[in-house]
């Protein structure tokens, strides 16, 4: 004992949801340093912006990631709409908000299952994913797709919700809330879960700020920062506060994300009640010229969309800065001095979405 070894963690590893490569310098089951490498799922999607019509680019932007796909499509559309000064109709804004919140719910439920799996609690994993199936059923019924919705277009949305679908949604939301409350007791109070998550990977508020972390990862350490407070889409008309916690360990992150699921349910109910009638989209005339930067709250945090056009059909530059890219330094900081048994949980607790990070 006492020998340093470099353990290659990933990209193919059962505990990782997505392929990231970490070179862990380990001594006696304690990790001294973690060096990340990415690029295993790099498809060069940003380069495609120069080859695809800006209207068609929505479909490419959506396919950046399977879990946060609606957020990417919405962020791209918002950036191009800001560039071309297009005002989206109210009903479309509310519809986008509703689908975005469903996307957030399914992403957080997926993450809860993966975390349970990371600390060896398979039954909880299956319970969370069973609840997630109901969310995906709602998505399929209303948009036609379970993961990749393809309802966004520059200028609005394609599809509408009718009365039957809204009634179905409300019924399902009640069922989801009820079953999640049952799961909650195990998540929050089980002794073995507490032993695996309390006090693991603690980052203080100052450290989180210095590392530039975003999203629920940052909110679990007390940083009150949620891009939805800026009131884009229909969020300006809805009533909510960001969910924060002060402890900054893995347990706090589970708490924050579970509470955000309840928050999403409340937001969807508000939006469904407030949604006005109206058009779904406006026609878009002209070519994109100039530049625009838009920030959107994805399930994993703040995502930045930058578009730059030069009065042609093809954008000159389209950049996404995804939240996982900003949380990577936080991960490397947490891994220093961590026990090897905790590496799986720490990697999963930042909610890594590597296909977003690499585009």
């Amino acid at each position: 004992m006492g020998k340093k070894s470099v353990i290659p963690f990933g990209p193919q590893h059962p505990v990782l949801p997505e392929p990231i490569h970490l070179d862990l310098v380990v001594e006696d089951e304690v990790v001294e340093e973690a060096i990340p490498n990415i690029g295993f799922i790099h498809r060069g999607l940003e380069g495609l912006a120069e080859k695809k019509d800006f209207n068609e680019m929505v479909y490419v932007a959506e396919r950046t990631c399977g879990i946060c796909s609606f957020g990417h499509g919405m962020g791209y559309c918002e950036a191009v709409e800001k560039l071309m000064n297009v005002e989206v109709p109210e009903r479309a804004k509310y519809l986008r908000t509703i689908w975005m919140e469903f996307s957030r719910m399914h992403s957080h439920l997926l993450w809860l299952g993966l975390t349970a799996d990371a600390f060896g609690f398979e039954s909880l994993f299956y319970e969370c994913w069973r609840i997630r199936e109901w969310v995906l059923d709602i998505m399929e019924k209303t948009t036609g797709g379970r993961i990749i919705f393809s309802v966004n277009q520059v200028g609005g949305v394609h599809r509408d919700l009718d009365e039957d679908q809204i009634r179905f949604m409300k019924g399902e939301l009640d069922r989801i809330e009820r079953d999640l409350k049952n799961c909650e007791k195990t998540l929050f109070e089980d002794a073995t879960v507490q032993k695996r998550t309390r006090g693991i990977g603690v980052l203080s508020k100052q450290q989180i700020h210095d590392l530039g972390a975003v999203g629920p990862f940052a909110r679990a350490s007390g940083l009150k920062y949620d891009m939805r407070m800026t009131g884009y889409e229909a969020y300006g008309n809805l009533d909510f506060e960001p969910v924060i916690s002060d402890e900054g360990d893995c347990y706090a992150r589970i708490l924050v994300r579970t509470k955000e699921i309840y928050q999403s349910i409340r937001l969807i109910r508000q939006a469904l009640d407030q949604m006005p009638a109206g058009e779904l989209s406006v026609p878009v005339k002209g070519m994109p010229k100039g530049e625009a930067m838009v920030r959107v709250e994805q399930p994993r945090g703040e995502a930045v969309y930058y578009v730059n056009g030069e009065n042609t059909r093809f954008l000159n530059r389209f950049r996404i800065r995804t939240p996982t890219f900003a949380n990577l330094p936080g991960l490397c900081q947490m891994l220093q001095g961590a026990n090897y048994a905790d590496v799986g949980i720490l990697v999963v607790s930042i909610d890594p979405c590597i296909s977003c990070t690499e585009r």
Binding site: S5, I7, P8, H13, P14, V15, V26, E29, A116, D117, A118, F119, G120, F121, E122, S123, Y126, E127, R130, D190, T192, V193, K195, R196, N339, Y340, A341, D342, V343, G344
Partner: protein, 289 residues
């Protein structure tokens, strides 16, 4: 027990234990799946898996791994045979400890980081189990006056009446021995842990098949140890023993599905504490009374 009976038992063990073990493993997977609201694989799935593994081509990093695994298997089978032949239980537990060293070597010889760390955790697991097993043997001696299995089951009263504390400690470490949550740090049945598959990461094809088969032999052996707590000279106790075995097995599945995985330090501390308290108190009582 006459020699003929011993020989029959040994032959039955060698032939039937893998089948019974496979059946138990299959029932385990089916019940776990139903607890998780899934349908689950067919009950004979472990048998199908092992048959498939035996047909595969061996790609081992080091050829000595095959020899070490087969040694592990043969030693475990011999231990079981000794037990069913009615020989003394203390020797059985000691040889079981020796056989696990071969498993450790088989994992370490590949030089893979995951495998080596899993092997180290396996040694820690053994450290956690040994005290309870040895205490059980001592308890048998104090309760029934003999280490020999034949005498223990021939007694007028079930051994458990005088050694409930030892039984509790033994059940606790059974979870570790059978590699179930919360104590599956060295090798979980599911590959979703940080060490990939832990000690069996670098084992494939025939070697993995031998490992699985040895697991079955060991499960049957452990269940048999549970049985000798219950069996006495009355024939009805055999039925009681079978019922208790099934209940114990179900309890293990239940615990597996309701706990997360604990780290090895917690496992060591917990198992030694439970052993010392429950078995220790029982020991003092038996020596005093």
């Amino acid at each position: 027990m006459t020699t003929a009976v011993r020989v029959i038992f040994v032959v039955l063990y060698v032939l039937l234990a893998p089948l019974i073990g496979a059946l138990l493993a299959g029932i385990d997977r089916k019940i776990s799946a139903r607890m998780q609201r899934r349908i689950g694989p067919p009950v004979l799935q472990p048998l199908y898996d092992v048959i498939k593994l035996l047909k595969k081509q061996v790609i081992a990093v080091d050829r000595s791994q095959g020899f070490l695994i087969v040694s592990y298997m043969i030693l475990t089978v011999i231990t079981g045979c000794l037990f069913f032949a009615g020989v003394d239980v203390l020797m059985v537990f000691f040889i079981l400890g020796t056989s696990s060293v071969f498993l450790y070597l088989a994992a370490v010889v590949t030089g893979s980081a995951m495998s080596s760390m899993g092997a180290q955790r396996e040694l820690v697991q053994d450290m956690a189990i040994e005290p309870a097993l040895l205490f059980s043997a001592v308890g048998f001696y104090l309760a029934t006056g003999s280490f020999e299995v034949g005498s223990i089951i021939g007694g007028p009263v079930s051994a458990i009446v005088k050694m409930p504390g030892f039984f509790a400690a033994f059940l606790f470490v059974l979870t570790i021995k059978m590699r179930k949550s919360p104590f599956d740090t060295a090798q979980g049945t599911h590959a979703h842990q940080e060490l990939v598959k832990g000690i069996t990461t670098e084992m494939g094809a025939k070697n993995l098949a031998y490992f699985e088969i040895t697991e079955w032999y060991e499960t049957v052996l452990m269940m048999a140890v549970v049985a000798i707590y219950i069996i006495n000279s009355h024939p009805a106790s055999i039925i009681a023993a079978i019922v208790v075995i099934l209940l114990v097995y179900f309890l293990e599945i239940l615990i597996d599905n309701t706990c997360a995985r604990l780290k090895w330090k917690d496992m060591l501390v917990l198992s030694w504490t439970v052993t010392l308290i429950s078995a220790g108190v029982n020991l003092i009582l038996l020596m005093v009374i």
